[in-house]
Symmetry: C2
């Protein structure tokens, strides 16, 4: 373990990198790529600016590392839901709840994606790791839709990517636009009752759409 005495220094590269990434995630997500300050990140770290460049090469390199790490964190959560064991409608509602809760619990991630969109997803394009991720979600949805249609539960044959977009849009918007929306309509979207109502709402909307 890397304990550090009053003044002595202990080398702990892994910890140093993680420390930088943690601080940088917060900084980039609250100030954007251009608005983030490397000096400000360095200050909040237990290490120095030198180390940021030592490990990540440049400000953009650090930003990309932050982005990749954020996407990687989700990957794990999405996998093990075992949705094929459930009835189609139940499976869909479970998937929607999971997406909803994920976005609600990870505003930093949502903000980073917003920032990335402002930059035309330029960094994401360069990272192959990120692109291969969400593909599995589509296959999961496709399976649910097919089963539901065959069983006569869903009357509509919908495109799985479209359904995924509809779900994402609602869950993402609630978090990404909570400040402007909250300001205009004087409503706190993080309020407990509102969260419950919205979680049910998007599920009902998608299900009723597929059944109609």
């Amino acid at each position: 373990m890397a304990e550090r005495g009053e003044n002595g220094r202990k080398n702990d590269p892994q910890q140093t990198k993680e420390d930088i990434l943690l601080v940088a995630t917060e900084e980039f997500s609250t100030h954007g790529l251009a608005g983030a300050r490397v000096d400000s990140i360095a200050e909040k770290t237990r290490t120095s600016k030198r180390m940021i460049y030592y490990y990540f090469g440049s400000k953009e390199g650090l930003y990309l590392a932050v982005l990749e790490q954020s996407y990687r964190k989700i990957r794990s959560l999405e996998s093990d839901l075992h949705l094929s064991d459930l009835e189609p409608e139940e499976a869909l509602r479970t998937l929607i709840s999971t997406t909803f809760d994920h976005d609600e619990a990870n505003p930093d991630f949502v903000r980073l994606v917003s920032i990335e969109n402002i930059h035309h997803a330029a960094h994401m394009l360069r990272s192959e790791a990120i692109r291969d991720l969400n593909v599995s979600v589509i296959e999961t949805i496709a399976g649910i839709l097919e089963r539901g249609f065959d069983q006569g539960i869903f009357r509509r044959k919908a495109d799985p990517i479209d359904i995924h977009m509809m779900i994402s849009a609602f869950c993402f918007f609630r978090v990404s636009n909570r400040y402007t929306f909250g300001t205009i309509f004087r409503r706190n979207l993080s309020d407990g009752d509102t969260i419950e109502r919205h979680r049910g709402m998007i599920a009902d909307a998608v299900v009723s759409y597929l059944k109609s």
Copy 2:
């Protein structure tokens, strides 16, 4: 009219201001608040940086002016649809189509709102002009929902702000996240067929939700 000869100067404050705002809208929307460069805006203008500070005081002042102008532009479009003349379902579908087309046609506006959210809507809070805008939409929706419920067309009593959010989320997300979404799923959301399909999709989803 402010024609300018080979070398002579003609004062035209109105035109100068509009020119700056137009260029600034583009710059802020593609680079964000911190990423935008005042010098870059000045260059693309027929006037100088001096004028930006003369009329808008500061970079933030210019940003706020851009934001206010963008919101003001929508106000006019939303008003005259005469939705109360239509049957509830028809009125709702018309409103949804209008919102959809507006966001699709104004990516700059969508991006500015995204940027404003990254900054916790801090500038919007200071501008009273902006806050009073979207209130009318809610009243419109409330009227439609009430009529629809009374006529037995809608079986669900929904909150008008929630319905507005559901519509906005879908229409906004398609534009705000088109780059990351497009990159991950290799799908062009500005494609003609996709636009048509999505426009119908959000309308069907909202209507079927209210009818269920």
